[in-house]
């Protein structure tokens, strides 16, 4: 698959990918390497994986990382309740110990968590490891091992080999530095806020029924807003919400009604300080420029 094919396939799923990203994705597919995506919140990192899975017609398996994520949540866990029940039932029916043990430590009693699921599919799925920077370093180290070997060892059961190599996409918001070892094993792409053209294309793809003039105004407005000194810069998701809100309220032009515009800013500005900083006057000034 060439990079243009991939770009078209993603565009069919309403995802506008830049050339850099498309090349990175294509290499990730053809080289079989994990792809690490970094960038500010709301630039569509998670969406990449979702769209890629849809365009390749495979399953998306998602592992959301958080502080305290451990093996039991990421890989597998024994289904203890079922095991207890099975032991009870066995003792009623007078089964022997060895048979019971063999039975309750079989795949049937294993709860598969995302990582194990990802390597035991028939067709290679897209494995999204979201916000890897939130997980702790031990987990990162474990992940490295899994990404290199594609096998998981369960002490009671033996080693489970991968039946399919998943397409791995990792995302990071950069809240902490990832280890060099992890970075070296991955391809890397940095997603920035899109330029005017790209963002307009995204908006048009996502909200087909929007008028082009309003769309262009919205994008100019958001792009200018991003240059303001904000605590939380609005991402693409926020732009889409903003557009949806304006359309829902039947606004045809940003400069029409200052009060409505100011109220819809709730979709773009997510902290108290940002709200206070962008007053009605400021939003009018920006809207005036955008129009």
């Amino acid at each position: 698959m060439t990079m243009t094919d991939l770009q078209t396939a993603l565009a069919e799923q309403n995802y506008v990918a830049s050339d850099d990203l498309a090349v990175a994705l294509q290499l990730a597919l053809s080289l079989g390497r994990p792809l690490l995506l970094e960038g500010a919140a709301g630039v569509g990192k998670t969406e990449v994986a979702r769209t890629l899975a849809a365009s390749q017609n495979t399953k998306l398996i998602r592992l959301q990382c958080y502080e305290g994520l451990d093996a039991a949540q990421a890989i597998y866990e024994w289904n203890y309740q079922r095991q207890l029940l099975a032991i009870r039932a066995a003792s009623e029916s007078g089964e022997t110990g060895a048979a019971v043990e063999a039975r309750i430590f079989s795949r049937e009693y294993l709860l598969e968590r995302p990582l194990l699921q990802a390597i035991t599919q028939d067709a290679p799925p897209v494995l999204l490891i979201d916000e890897i920077d939130r997980a702790d370093e031990e987990f990162e180290a474990f992940l490295l091992e899994m990404l290199a070997e594609f096998q998981i060892t369960v002490p009671e059961l033996g080693t489970i080999e991968a039946t399919s190599k998943p397409i791995v996409i990792l995302t990071s918001n950069g809240t902490r530095d990832l280890s060099d070892a992890l970075r070296r094993r991955c391809l890397f792409a940095y997603l920035d806020y899109p330029d005017h053209q790209t963002e307009l294309a995204i908006l048009m793809a996502r909200c087909a029924e929007i008028e082009e003039r309003l769309a262009s105004q919205i994008i100019s407005f958001v792009q200018t807003l991003r240059k303001e000194d904000l605590e939380k810069t609005p991402g693409i998701a926020e732009t889409l919400d903003f557009a949806a809100a304006l359309m829902g309220l039947g606004v045809a032009d940003l400069t029409d009604d200052p009060a409505v515009l100011h109220n819809t800013l709730a979709t773009l500005l997510k902290t108290q300080n940002d709200r206070a900083q962008i007053t009605t006057e400021v939003s009018q000034r920006i809207a005036g420029k955008a129009a």
């Binding site: 060439t2 990079m3 050339d19 850099d20 090349v23 990175a24 294509q26 290499l27 053809s30 080289l31 390497r33 792809l35 970094e38 502080e67 305290g68 994520l69 451990d70 093996a71 024994w78 203890y80 095991q83 207890l84 032991i87 009870r88 066995a90 003792s91 110990g97 019971v100 043990e101 309750i104 702790d136 370093e137 031990e138 987990f139 950069g174 809240t175 902490r176 530095d177 060099d180 970075r183 070296r184 391809l187 890397f188 792409a189 940095y190």
Partner: protein, 394 residues
């Protein structure tokens, strides 16, 4: 394409060009190995490599590993491949042995000062380190610093070290990390250890007679201390240096640095078995002691080099400085922000804070405040000992 670099006729081919390019990136600070060269070549077979922009994108996602590197990459790519049609004569640069300061070897005694890539002028103590100097300009600056040499042995007495060792040990104990993720089997745990309980219950016919428990274990935190030894700090240096040597002696995972206008790693020197000889080795490294200070530059250098290797989420970075700085305050803030991103805790102990009516108005100090987890006064060993309860709360 006229913009693309031409290569000399005797050039051995695309393989050598690629390794030349990787060497070019490596020279510019990207950390790449042989595997990346292979991967880069392989990547080019998957894109139409004759199109410079696609080749650039492909090489970028292989070679760059961080946002900064990705931004730097474009310029480096242009410099190598898009040199306005100039003929590149030598594609594989001569390999120069470089001392890499973020790679630590247990064998050489000079894990210390190679600041700014300049030549070393002081032979590291107890070492066979050769003093390689390149560039006369650097030498002049070093001579200036040498004027300010002072023997730290006058400052640090053995009984102080013994006492400091005790203080450092207690501080280390207070800094337990309680955030361990995995639970381990423990007699008095907060949760049931299901796996173990079930396993053992098989022996009693599936009846879980004994319940096993698990808990989160305490983990040690790594203490990394950076001590300012500039002129304005010399009165306090005695306490702090004793503390550093005490810390090094009691905690094998800790790490120590001193800085004035440069940053010096003194961990290896301070681990010397003889405490007094350790201080002697340290003073050999610390020439320039009592001079001016560049806190911002030193911290920045630390964040870029040693911190990448030695500082992680379990580290506590202890900065001992008065915050009087000759570099721009923004530099301190930027360095701390970068350090902060490694997930560590940052504690700043400022001897001046003990003064009545002290306000952190020195520009550097004011800029730093937002990035600190704890900002405390300390100018005697007793003050340091009193920190124990504060640290336990972190």
């Amino acid at each position: 394409m006229s913009r693309v670099t031409k290569f000399a006729g005797r050039d051995p081919g695309p393989l050598a060009r690629m390794s030349g390019f990787i060497a070019h990136l490596r020279d510019n600070g990207l950390r790449l190995g042989v595997r990346e060269t292979e991967l880069a070549l392989e990547a080019l077979t998957h894109v139409p490599a004759a199109e410079p922009e696609l080749a650039r994108a492909a090489l970028k996602c292989v070679c760059a590993g961080t946002k900064d590197e990705a931004q730097q990459f474009d310029a480096l790519f242009d410099a190598f491949w898009m040199d306005k049609g100039r003929v590149r004569q030598k594609i594989t640069p001569k390999i120069q042995p470089k001392t890499q300061q973020d790679v630590h070897s247990s064998r050489d005694g000079d894990g210390a000062d190679t600041a700014g890539g300049a030549g070393q002028t002081t032979a590291p103590a107890g070492g066979d380190g050769e003093a390689d100097m390149d560039g006369e300009g650097k030498l002049v600056a070093t001579e200036m610093r040498n004027l300010a040499r002072r023997d730290l042995r006058d400052l640090v007495r053995p009984e102080d070290i013994a006492q400091a060792e005790e203080v450092a040990r207690r501080l280390g104990a207070a800094l337990r990390d309680r955030r361990s993720r995995r639970r381990i089997a423990a007699r008095r745990g907060d949760r049931l250890h299901f796996r173990k309980t079930i396993r053992r219950s098989l022996a009693t016919g599936g009846e879980p007679l004994t319940l096993f428990r698990k808990k989160r274990p305490d983990r040690d935190r790594k203490l990394v201390a950076l001590c300012d030894v500039s002129g304005s700090m010399s009165v306090y240096a005695q306490v702090f240096l004793a503390f550093l040597s005490g810390l090094m002696r009691c905690d094998p995972t800790s790490d120590a640095y001193i800085f004035h206008t440069r940053l010096v790693r003194i961990t290896d020197a301070l681990r010397d078995k003889d405490p007094i000889r350790a201080v002697g080795r340290m003073s050999l490294m610390a020439d320039g002691f009592g001079g001016g200070s560049k806190i911002g530059a030193s911290l920045g250098q630390f964040a870029d080099t040693y911190a990448r290797r030695f500082v992680d989420g379990r580290s506590v970075v202890l900065i001992l400085s008065d915050g009087y700085d000759t570099s721009a305050p923004a530099e301190v803030a930027a360095a701390l922000a970068k350090l902060r991103k490694r997930g560590c805790r940052i504690i700043w102990l400022n001897p001046l804070k003990g003064w009545k009516d002290y306000q952190p108005i020195a520009a550097g100090m004011a800029a730093a405040l937002t990035h600190l987890d704890l900002f405390q006064a300390a100018n005697t060993l007793n003050d340091l000992a009193a920190l124990e309860s504060e640290l336990a709360r972190l």
